[in-house]
């Protein structure tokens, strides 16, 4: 027996476009009767395809007893296990929010035992649902836990509990072949995305706009909004695809700027979509807005420059020799040491002995810049550094200090014993034995070498 009528399902679909099937499946799979429920079901689909909100709405609609746990809040599995148990124990108590954290749960085996104990104590009469939202974003590898939940039905001696796994990542391969119910959420199409983004009440649109001098009626607002969303979706859907949350964020961020000419009265009010003249005018004003990346915010840099602080970039500079050291580190990582004499030596003889390397060229087709940097010795770094600095400098302690600084900033990293992360190794980090690796990309290095007017291309064999 299903809990929702078909009519109700249709109504819900109005709220969540293109999710009729999913509601229908949930409705037919889950029920209050604890004997008919599966022990686990999975909701799968890409990110922001409406899994969590559909499920939330459904559970709210049917009034099932449930526990909602966001796995991305849990740093380790232990935290999650502890929270599940604590939440289950709180069922039926006077204050369900006052959770009892007196139990520790170290591993899955213990979890099953403790879960059995808890269920026995609870003696559920109706089905209870435990939603594990974003299981793929658990701080630790979640595959084995996923397996456990799927098979937990065999290990539980008391029924009445159903786990709902919500995951946007790919399922663990081992569980693909197991037979437990899946509900797939397909990505939204462009039209569906538009419909979702458009669904905004006039009040919330008004709040987005902020206080304006010109009062806009609800009708005006919604017509402005619908034309606006169409523009945004047309612009950004090819880039962000069905990622509704990202699209929504962009829509919200751009809107105040976009609508400013309207609220300021520069552009006439768009009475209906037929008022093309006003729309075209508005579009023309806002064209730069839609072509720049400023509102997408993929980078700190473009945004900062957009804010007019571009000049600040050059001032927080590293010391000059630190830049040379970084360039030297890049050269040491990306040029083979057998070319060193050819590249850095000023002795003419060494240049004469250049071998014809045309044969090799066909073999090594991958540009070395696309490969990981190779490790180099500390001494080689110093030697290259001495070759590229304009004036001869003695190896004063300041140079070592700068190498240490660069390493603290993770611009160059140490390879080998002691690892990069622990750092507490007993080896002297400036000893001649250590191996290093540059940790900066070509673009940045190019920029740095331009700063110090150093032609780094001359020293690279591509």
């Amino acid at each position: 027996m299903t809990d929702l009528t078909n009519n109700r399902l249709q109504e819900l679909t109005l709220e969540f476009p293109a999710r009729y099937n999913q509601f229908d499946l949930l409705n037919s799979l889950l029920s209050k009767d604890k004997t008919t429920n599966p022990t686990a079901i999975a909701l799968v689909g890409q990110t922001s395809s409406g899994k969590s909100c559909v499920l939330r709405r459904f559970l709210q609609e049917v009034q099932f007893s449930h526990t909602w746990l966001s796995c991305d809040e849990c740093v380790t599995l232990r935290v999650l296990l502890q929270r599940i148990l604590a939440a289950l124990r709180a069922i039926g108590t006077q204050d369900p929010n006052n959770l009892d954290y007196s139990i520790m749960c170290h591993n899955s085996t213990l979890f099953v035992t403790q879960l059995n104990d808890t269920l026995r104590a609870l003696a559920l009469e109706e089905a209870h649902f435990v939603v594990l939202d974003r299981i793929d974003e658990l701080g630790e590898p979640y595959e084995s836990f996923y397996q456990l939940i799927i098979k937990i039905g065999n290990m539980l001696r008391y029924d009445g509990i159903t786990f709902i796994l919500v995951s946007s990542g790919s399922e663990p391969r081992s569980s693909v072949t197991t037979t437990f119910p899946h509900i797939y959420f397909p990505p939204y199409s462009k039209a569906e995305s538009l419909a979702i983004v458009r669904k905004e009440s006039p009040d919330s649109i008004r709040s987005m706009l902020g206080s304006t001098e010109r009062k806009l009626s609800d009708l005006q607002l919604s017509s402005l909004w619908s034309s606006y969303t169409q523009v945004i979706i047309d612009t950004y859907f090819p880039l962000y695809g069905p990622d509704i949350q990202q699209l929504k964020a962009i829509v919200r961020r751009v809107f105040p700027t976009y609508a400013k000419p309207v609220s300021d009265g520069v552009v006439g009010i768009l009475a209906s979509n037929r008022n093309y003249h006003a729309f075209v005018k508005l579009y023309k004003i806002n064209q730069p807005l839609l072509t720049s990346e400023e509102f997408v915010r993929n980078s700190f840099v473009s945004y900062v420059q957009g804010a007019g602080a571009a000049e600040s970039a050059g001032h927080h500079d590293m010391p000059m020799y630190a830049k040379y050291l970084l360039c030297a580190a890049y050269l040491a990582s990306y040029s083979k040491s057998r070319y060193d004499i050819r590249l850095f030596s000023r002795i003419r003889e060494s240049r004469r002995r250049v071998r014809n390397t045309t044969k090799h060229k066909f073999k090594d087709k991958i540009n070395s810049r696309n490969l990981a940097p190779s490790p180099f010795e500390y001494e080689r770094l110093l030697a290259i550094f001495q070759c590229i600095v304009p004036d001869r400098i003695d190896s004063v302690t300041d140079i070592q200090t700068q190498v240490a600084t660069l390493s603290t900033l993770k611009l160059i990293t140490r390879v080998g014993i002691g690892g990069d992360s622990s750092g507490g190794s007993s080896i002297d980090i400036l000893g001649s034995r250590t191996k290093w690796r540059v940790n900066v990309s070509w673009d940045i290095i190019l920029q740095i070498s331009r700063d110090i007017r150093f032609q780094i291309e001359n020293y690279l064999i591509d």
Binding site: Q82, Y101, A322, S395
Partner: protein
Amino acid sequence: MPASVFETPSKRKAAPEVLPDQMSSEVGESIEHSELISDRDVHKTCYVIKPSGNARKKEKKSYPFIRLDQSIPETDGHVVDRWTLYTKSIEKIQTKLESLLNDADESTLHRVWNYVTSTQDYHHEAYTLLPVGLVLTGANISSHTRLFTNISKYIEQKEAQKVATVVVTLRDASSLREALRKIISQLVGQLKADDEDEITARMKNVPQGDQTDKRLSYDLDLLIDWFVKQESVEKIVVIIEDADGSDGNLLPEVIRMLFVYRNRLPFVLLLGIATTLPIFNTKIPKRTMRMIDFESFDVLRTDDSLTRLLDEILLCSSTQLLLGPGLFRSLLKRYNNHTKNLETFTSAIQYAYMTHFFANPLSIILAPPKSIAQSEDHIIALRTIPSFQSYVADWTSKEECDTEHIRELLTDSTSVLAFVGSCQKEFFEFVSRQSDALKLLDVLQDASSTYSSTTVKRTRAELYADAITGALRGSPIVRELVMFITKMSAATVDNLARLIDQKFDKNSVIRKMRDSWNIGSMNGKASHLKLISNISKSLQEFLDANLKSYTDIVFHELFVFDSVSLCENAFAPRYRATIEKALMQPSYYLCHPSEAAELEKPFLSVAHALYRESGTLINIYDYWRAFHQVLVAKRDTETMANESLPTNEDEDAGYSRGLTPPTTFLESQTLALFYKAISELKYLGFLKEMSSKRGGNKNTLVTLQKLVWDGL
């Protein structure tokens, strides 16, 4: 003699105890704290100063400075004078430095605080982003802790009780768990400091009834309980000092966790970025970027601070000691090339002051010369100063000279002191004139830069060294600026006048000069031209008169400190050259130059000499053979010199009988010494062991690889 060979190791072992006595007997002279260093030890390379028995009691009375009787017999009073002079002048400087460094932060602090308060209150909206402030601190890591502690204090002070701040470093946190644990434990303040995962949070201040709370210490739910209890707290500011020093994915992970909790905990994240934004950008995935709403703050540029430092400390009215051009250039070079760190710059200034007052007995002249009046030696020493001598020489070479004046200076001590006083006044005048001239150049550059953007402005710090040596007078930059003045339009004149009003005091010479121009009183083209020529003439005259060299001042050696090598050696020693010199020429450090020939080279340096002669890979057997040969040959020549005509038969006979010690090394002895020497070289980082298989042969060859490259 083999006896000595066997003695060597034990001697070395006992070195720490032996050292002081050895040093005192062989190398230097152990002297009492208040004892003098006599003339005969001047050339010694090191001295050991032994505080006498009850040194602690004495310390309270005595001063860190010692008497410099080597050059001038000083009394204790003189030492005290120098010491008080030093402490006084350094105190003045230090208070100024403090305020300078704090002011530099002040504006940043204010902006950051503004940002923190302006961030939206958290609400349960899905679109709320995590507010993140990017604090661009510059690559000078050593000052970060101070800066961020200041930020944290400032915010807490301004928003008493409303904001909770926590400063963490990610450098020493290896995982997300540790980072979160740090944040939580600093805020809640009740967690145990243990690093074990097992340690659970048993918080006394979180009401849990009688249940025990066994949540893990990195569970952010703990923070929610804490936050609910703290009624006044409206924001939690998490400051991460080293955002770009963290490993791999740690920072994005932390940001994600804070983002997840943003609707329940009002986080504001402040990230300290020591690199530049483009570099930092590459470390943050786009996915994380979408979670945050950011603003960036530039900590005040240090170049400006350098100019302020120059104005307020080096060229202010109370300046008693001027940094010489050579020293300043070297400090500026080090600042630009190596450190970009204002603290090191200022500590170098302090060191210069200290050196001057410590090592120059005549430095007491900077104080009102009371005590010096009695000391005839000081007067004599004053007369030996080169600038004074050349002054006298110049004076006497003149045709009609006032010999009376010179005679007085050479014979009468009071007149010399009076002359020193007048020279000092001249010096003060010089300092203030230099300061004015540099400021004027600054203003002129500002005024001209709006019209020609091609020229790069040179800061006062860059011009300082040239200015005080007088090299700036008539230099291209000054000529260019004067040229600019002659081409000024009326608007530019107004602009220049406005800038002068801004930068100079009402009573300053330049303000008076500017008032005398009567700008605005005249109209018409002819009068404008007149005005311009008037201005350029007066400015040219001013610059010519003021950009003088400090060497023109008599006794400038007392007022200007310019010892480059002293400061360079103190702050940036050449470690490699030092080690190599010690190995190649051990006599430099081990004994007096005259005894160098007699010194037996340590075996380490013998091994090092062979090391330098070989290629990258050294076969260990060859190495040992060579080492053995060197030792044997050396011993042979010694025995040749010591014993007259030792015959082979004698030696063999003595050797076989076992009565007389063998005059050559046994192979086993040299082998032991060789092992010791190469293990020491290994310890110094010169060598690495390597075993290589050659030509399919199964026998492995033990070779040593050279690690240190030559000439770096």
